[in-house]
């Protein structure tokens, strides 16, 4: 026993009132380095021990604020800046929708970080030993007794006196606690092979479980019920329709809202005579006509309509749109060509709305005029 170093003297008390009285007595006797262990928080202990107000609250508050800021920034960056998505027509910075998440992250960071910093700062991680561990004293105070220890490091510490003092204020089982020599001498480091092995095992376990639950479990009964519904999925073979197509054409004769079927599919003459462009030259119409022309017509007809374009060599070159013939055709004639197509040129009826077709025609007219400017156009 001689070579062992004394850590503290402990005593057991039996009721919460006793331990509060004892704590007061210890403070009065002038001991500074002492501690109280109770199975649950005993109210009034802070005052009895004359503890200063714990800074933990401020600490947790600061962490909470950091958590809230980080959470908001994360959502702001992903949802508003990096990849803005339109969800239900909400703004890209939908604050009300962020509130629950921000709240969760605030609480999470405040609580987790508080616990982690307690482990690091007070328990001096990776240290995992304390002389009070594994003592009879610890066993008792973590079930139904209340304990008090006076540490040898206290300036007023005197072994015999402290023992007498503790019995005098009503403590039972007064005991001396020594450091465990093995524990003091063993040097635990983070690179301990055992620790690293444990870490590796845990990592593998976590990865396996995560992989399993995300990639396998979710596809098992009953988790897949939501996914495997009896509904048509685009691009999947249909077992319901005979031809195996999931994507269906509308029923014959279906007319979309606001859409008028084209009345002269077989007659260019009629179309060129009857149809009149309902639109006028305007910035909006030309702008939109240009957009549609560049998208749908320019691959073959070129941006300026001269007929030699990006598809040159892979598709018969169309004639120039600047010939006198085309210039003299009525808008109705062009409308017919776009709607029905002409020889090798396919129909663009499905790609363009009726209004857009007229806008494209206005733009083609503008192109034609640009190559054949007349005097007075500048005015």
């Amino acid at each position: 026993m001689d070579n062992k170093i004394l850590h503290s003297v402990t005593a057991i008390f039996h009721t919460p009132d006793d331990i509060i009285k004892a704590a007061k007595a210890v403070v009065k006797a002038g001991y500074k380095k002492f501690d109280v262990h109770t199975p649950y928080p005993v109210h009034g202990m802070d005052q009895a021990m004359k503890l200063k107000r714990s800074p933990l609250g401020y600490f947790a508050f600061a962490l909470g604020v950091i958590g809230a800021t980080l959470g908001l920034l994360l959502m702001y960056w992903t949802m508003t800046v990096d990849y803005p998505l339109n969800i239900g027509g909400k703004p890209t910075f939908p604050l009300p929708a962020f509130v629950p998440v921000t709240f969760e992250i605030t609480v999470l960071l405040a609580s987790v970080a508080t616990v982690v910093s307690m482990i690091v700062i007070f328990f001096k991680f990776p240290n995992n030993s304390h002389p009070l561990h594994d003592t009879e004293y610890m066993k008792q105070v973590s079930s139904d007794k209340y304990g008090l220890t006076i540490e040898a490091a206290d300036p007023n510490f005197d072994f015999e006196k402290v023992k007498d003092f503790l019995s005098k204020i009503g403590g039972t089982n007064v005991e001396a606690i020594y450091y465990d020599n093995d524990e003091i001498n063993s040097k635990l480091t983070l690179l301990e092979p055992k620790f690293l092995t444990g870490l590796a095992v845990i990592s593998v376990l976590v990865i396996t479980i995560t992989y399993f639950s995300l990639n396998k479990l979710m596809f098992m009964q009953p988790f897949n019920w939501m996914m495997d519904q009896q509904k048509i999925t685009a691009m999947k073979v249909s077992t319901f329709f005979d031809d195996g197509f999931s994507m269906r054409l509308p029923v014959e004769g279906t007319v979309a809202r606001g859409f008028k079927p084209y009345p002269y599919p077989d007659s260019v003459e009629l179309a060129s005579r009857v149809l009149v462009n309902p639109l006028e030259f305007s910035d909006v119409n030309l702008e939109n006509g240009k957009r549609k022309y560049n998208t749908f017509c320019s691959p073959c007809h070129d941006y300026h309509g001269n007929g030699v374009a990006r598809l040159n060599g892979q598709f018969p070159n169309p004639p120039s749109l600047h010939t006198d013939k085309v210039r003299e055709w009525s808008d109705g004639h062009l409308y017919h060509i776009i709607t029905v197509g002409q020889n090798t040129m396919p129909s663009y009826d499905k790609q363009l709305t009726q209004e857009e077709k007229w806008q494209v025609i206005l733009y083609v007219r503008a192109l034609q005029r640009a190559l054949n400017a007349q005097e007075g156009d500048l005015q």
Partner: protein
């Protein structure tokens, strides 16, 4: 305190100034209300609804606090139960306040308006519930049930002062357990009838809880203020400690958070679903001057009380608690104003928030009612339940 000869509580008559103050406030309030009704009975009716709902909150909230104590068997609140019991008596003022409203139902409730009934099938479809006779019957029923439970819960407790019978506790616990679900339904009916149906097309299933959260908070605030003031001036036991008051602070803190939680849940779900039938209520409160009031609600009803109550010392310091209690009490007025008045301004040319002597009558009348009822009821009674076997235990309470 183990010595039985020590007097735990000695009755001390309330100052005579108190009834005087109460009656004069009440008189001013009543005169102003009459004046208001003769000037503009629509606006006066809306303001009277605020009065009604405010007083309801205090009475109903106090009844809830009494029942809660019996059900959970708490010790700390026993010394204050009598104050809640006295405060719950303001419920008897509610039919009187509601009387002018019953006579003016068609001025405030558009579900009575034949033009709207004809043109709006959503309102018409609700008419089996929202019609004049059922409204009146149901609210009279609510009053009666409230009075019944008031007598059941409070009567025995008063008699216990003399008899000191211990089995009162058992009876009260049973009655409280029966009361709780009924209370939940009644307060929902009240909130739906007087607040939600002001806009008959709008509905929110959480609305009853919203009103409940604010009500309990208000009842707590009034109780806290009265208890601390009485304790400071020696009208109730001198053995009350900071630990007792800490509980008031903690409960107010909890219900402040609860209110914010409910208010936000209601807002977020409606905002998210974005259905015109539901968003209309918030759109009304988001435009033409109301937006400022709406944003202010977040601060006045949640952030400021939250910050004021979050630390431990502020929960146990009686002086600070008193200030916070006053704040919370007024915040409930703000909340009710925010719920009720946009429905009035919607009808006027202005649309923007209004505040003048019409609105100022509300707090005068409410204070008058509280002080008059308190001095009337408390005058003849002990201010603490001295017959309760748990009374001593409650006084000895430590955190």
């Amino acid at each position: 305190m183990s010595n039985d000869n020590i007097v735990l509580y000695e009755r001390k008559p309330l100052p005579t100034k108190l009834p005087l103050l109460g009656w004069s406030l009440l008189l001013i309030g009543v005169v102003l209300t009459f004046l208001a009704f003769s000037t503009d009975n629509v606006r006066a009716s809306y303001n009277l609804i605020i009065v009604l709902m405010w007083v309801f909150s205090i009475g109903f909230g106090s009844l809830f606090l009494i029942a809660l104590e019996h059900i959970v068997g708490s010790d700390w609140s026993v010394p204050f139960r009598r104050l809640s019991e006295i405060l719950a008596a303001v419920l008897f003022a509610t039919p009187l306040i509601a009387l002018p409203l019953f006579l003016n139902l068609d001025q405030v409730f558009s579900w009575l308006n034949p033009v709207i009934l004809d043109s709006d099938k959503y309102v018409k479809n609700k008419s089996p519930y929202l019609n004049e006779s059922f409204f009146v019957i149901r609210n009279i029923f609510v009053f009666l049930v409230m009075f019944l439970f008031y007598f059941l819960l409070v009567g025995r407790s008063l008699r216990q002062d003399k008899t000191g019978k211990a089995d009162t506790k058992k009876w009260s616990t049973k009655i409280s357990a029966i009361f709780m679900p009924i209370f939940a339904i009644l307060i929902t009916v009240v909130a739906m009838d007087w607040l939600m149906s002001l806009e008959p097309k709008w509905f929110s299933t959480i609305f009853g809880v919203y009103y409940f959260a604010g009500s309990v908070l208000t009842a707590l605030a009034v109780l806290t203020f009265i208890a601390i003031t009485l304790a400071e001036n020696g009208y109730i036991s001198k053995y009350l400690t900071e630990d007792h008051f800490y509980n008031f602070g903690a409960l107010m803190f909890a219900f402040t958070n609860f209110w914010a939680y409910i208010a936000f849940s209601q807002f977020m779900l409606i905002w998210y679903a974005n259905i015109p039938d539901e968003t209309m209520w918030y759109m009304q409160r988001g435009g033409e001057g109301w937006m400022t009031i709406s944003l202010g609600l977040i601060f006045i009803r949640f952030l400021i009380p939250y910050m004021a109550l979050v630390t431990r010392p502020s929960k146990s310091n009686p002086f600070r608690l008193k200030i916070i209690a006053v704040w919370v009490f007024i915040a409930h007025y703000y909340d009710l104003y925010w719920v009720i008045m946009p429905e009035y301004t919607k009808k006027t040319e202005l649309h923007a928030p209004v505040y003048s002597w019409f609105e100022f009558t509300v707090p005068i009348l409410v204070l008058g009612v509280i002080i008059v009822v308190f001095s009337l009821v408390a005058g003849k009674k002990n201010l603490m339940p001295i017959g309760d076997p748990k009374f001593r235990k409650g006084l000895e309470f430590h955190l």
